[in-house]
């Protein structure tokens, strides 16, 4: 833990907020179209309709805000899932929740011609909920109950099933394929402001819920039995946590498609910086998630200039080494796993 005292933690939070703002600004200014800081300022103060100003206002600004929102929601969803399943590898993508949401969206786009943004969100959240439920129910059953290992494997199997079904639908429908390919890779580019505003309410509810119950999550993290002994209604808390994850992950997927590894990696970095107290961990992870996703997004513009790499690919490349490191370390000192 890097930041030990409350004062240091506050400083860390403030630094996080400043960095997030700085990252958003950089994301607005740097990119293929040449723009400068003063131009960016101008476009907010007196918009003159020039090419650069239009790019800044309609492309870069939504993109930066979307990256910030998606990064924060995925990271917070990851923290809650890791606490809920006691599994350091838990995250919306590893446990198949992203794949479920993606499948639901592709299904509705191809078979019901869905195009309304509001519907996108609802369908995505419903897909996330269904796959989360499947994984949870599956790993509850069986010989030794809900072990971290089992939930990871059940998630991997569900993810494989859903992505295979998604591929199957797309193969039979080439028009839809081209429409959703970039979305499926996970990207924050080319989205309009409206999609953000249509999803934002769900994400805000998710973040507020996670903050409200953060102190109870601390109790749950000490272990189920202890939490029950202390008078916590663990069943209800778990249900709320599950709901929060679904809102956050489903919302994020609706905007950006399945972006991997943010949800798994960020909570670990945040925990290393600020410790295990969820009251700090959740907001800090949110900030860190925003910063990392925006940074990955900026990077993805420059690697193959003028073409762009989907940011989901970037996060996978950054995240896999850390995943492997955690998998090698084992689950919380339990070497047998």
């Amino acid at each position: 833990m890097l930041l030990k005292t409350t004062k240091q933690k506050w400083l860390g939070m403030i630094a996080g907020i400043l960095l997030t703002v700085a990252a958003i600004c950089m994301s607005i200014v740097y990119g293929y179209t040449n723009t400068t800081w003063s131009m960016a300022m101008d476009s907010f103060i007196h918009f003159n309709g020039s090419n650069e100003h239009i790019v800044l206002q309609t492309v870069r600004l939504p993109r930066a805000l979307i990256a910030a929102t998606v990064g924060a929601s995925l990271a917070i969803a990851g923290v809650i899932m890791q606490t809920l399943t006691k599994n350091p590898l838990a995250s919306p993508d590893i446990l198949g929740i992203n794949a479920g949401a993606g499948f639901a969206i592709v299904l509705f786009v191809t078979f019901f011609g869905m195009s309304d943004l509001q519907h996108f969100t609802v369908v995505s959240i419903a897909g996330a909920a269904i796959s989360a439920l499947c994984v949870y129910v599956i790993s509850m059953n069986g010989r030794d109950g809900l072990t971290p290992m089992k939930i990871t494997l059940a998630g991997a199997a569900m993810a494989a099933l859903f992505s295979s079904l998604t591929q199957g639908i797309l193969v039979t429908n080439e028009a839809a394929f081209e429409q959703v390919l970039f979305w499926l890779a996970g990207s924050v580019a080319g989205r309009k402001m409206e999609i953000l505003t249509s999803v934002l309410p769900y994400i805000i509810i998710g973040i507020v819920l996670s903050m409200m119950f953060s102190s109870k999550m601390n109790v749950l993290a000490t272990g189920e039995d202890v939490a029950k002994g202390l008078g916590l209604k663990t069943g209800r808390l778990k249900l709320i946590m599950g709901l929060t994850v679904i809102l956050l992950a489903g919302g994020a997927v609706a905007i950006a498609g399945p972006i991997g590894f943010i949800g798994m990696v960020i909570p670990h970095i945040a925990r290393y910086c600020i410790g295990n107290d969820h009251r700090w961990l959740i907001p800090f992870s949110g900030l860190l998630g925003s910063i990392v996703l925006i940074a990955a997004d900026i990077l993805s513009r420059y690697i193959l200039m003028p073409r762009e790499i989907p940011v989901g690919v970037m996060t996978a490349i950054i995240g896999t080494p850390l995943f492997i490191y955690i998998a090698r370390k084992g689950f919380g000192g339990n070497e047998k796993i």
């Binding site: 199997a157 099933l161 591929q167 390919l181 690919v313 796993i337």
Partner: protein, 351 residues
């Protein structure tokens, strides 16, 4: 009655065990596979009765039937056959080696590695005229290289005073995710007309089969399956566990390398021609084990046939059920395979 019968020839210079029950089951499965091949050849947009199919096979069918069967249907069916066999044998070897019922080429990242390699191959070597600048014959080599790189990565990264099976599976999941991202990346940077072609291929389909493919695939897969069969006594020893195997005088590390190489080669050639048909390598060996137990001499051939049946039937369903739409075989194998995986997960003790 003893389960096995031993056979000694040439003053005991050559000896092997015979397992009559496995022989019976093998015969039954072989007949089943053949009848599925015949039926599947007959079913399609133009129905050809089984008897006529057989006539064509014997070179006595009508001209039209012969054309449809030899030019259109047979390459596809043979590809399905060999791909199913290769994947199943690769899965059986991996399960024996890793001693984990959940191991399979797609879960531990071999298929993913091969996919990245093939997509990269298609992207780099295609020119403006939609055609490849190098021979398609190099594609299995690319797929094999990709699978091998993934296999080595997974194996090395899960090494920590020996390879724990669970760690291997977890690292495999991580590598698979990375490979998926890289595949998407290659699709997006590649020429756009390749995108949907590649997508079909990733899902796993035998629809693009041609005689040219079959002629490359068949020798590869048959040779390596045969090699695996010869090597099966070593796999049997490996399955007893590392300590026992060492105690029995096996060179465990060397044998593991050979086994990994065999399964990588098999996965490579299957993936090169049919893409990522998932879960076959997981399911087939389990079903075979139910039938004949875990002696690899019997297990490998039976797994091979079951794998072939799985892919043949999935392809048959995929091209007939929603006709004229074609659903890739990989979708069906995943639909059966994922629940099966979950069933195994619930049954096995995890710690």
């Amino acid at each position: 009655m003893k389960k096995y019968k031993s056979l000694r020839l040439y003053n005991e210079k050559v000896s092997f065990l015979l397992y009559p029950r496995a022989g019976m089951i093998f015969a039954i499965m072989a007949v089943l596979t053949l009848s599925i091949i015949v039926a599947s050849t007959g079913i399609g947009e133009m129905y050809i009765a089984p008897i006529q199919v057989l006539q064509v096979f014997l070179g006595q069918g009508s001209d039209l039937d012969t054309l449809v069967i030899t030019d259109l249907r047979l390459p596809r069916i043979l590809t399905a056959l060999f791909v199913g066999m290769s994947l199943a044998v690769a899965g059986a070897i991996l399960q024996g080696m890793i001693r984990n019922p959940l191991a399979s080429p797609d879960i531990i990242g071999l298929t993913g590695g091969a996919s990245v390699a093939v997509v990269t191959f298609l992207t780099i070597f295609s020119d403006e005229n939609y055609s490849l600048t190098v021979s398609i014959n190099w594609m299995p080599v690319a797929a094999f290289t990709g699978a091998a790189v993934a296999a080595i990565m997974v194996y090395v990264l899960s090494w920590k005073k020996g390879v724990s099976t669970i760690r291997l599976v977890l690292i495999g999941i991580g590598i698979t995710a990375l490979m998926k991202a890289l595949t998407t990346f290659m699709i997006l940077v590649g020429p756009i007309y390749r995108a949907s072609q590649v997508n079909l291929w990733i899902t796993g389909s035998v629809s693009a089969a041609s005689w040219q493919n079959v002629l490359i695939l068949a020798p590869w897969s048959l040779a390596f399956i045969f090699f695996a069969f010869i090597y099966s006594r070593n796999i049997n020893v490996q399955e007893l566990g590392e300590e026992v195997a060492v105690g029995l005088g096996s060179n465990v590390q060397k044998q593991r390398m050979v086994m990994l190489a065999i399964s990588t080669a098999l996965v490579g050639c299957a993936v090169a021609f049919a893409g990522g048909i998932g879960f076959v390598g997981l399911m087939a060996p389990h079903m075979a084990r139910r039938l004949v137990g875990s002696n690899f001499g019997a297990l490998l051939p039976i797994s091979a046939l079951i794998g072939a049946i799985l892919v043949l039937v999935s392809d048959l369903i995929g091209r007939t059920l929603f006709s004229p739409l074609e659903i890739p075989a990989g979708v069906f194998t995943a639909c059966i395979g994922a629940p099966y995986f979950i069933y195994l997960l619930l049954k096995t003790k995890t710690s």
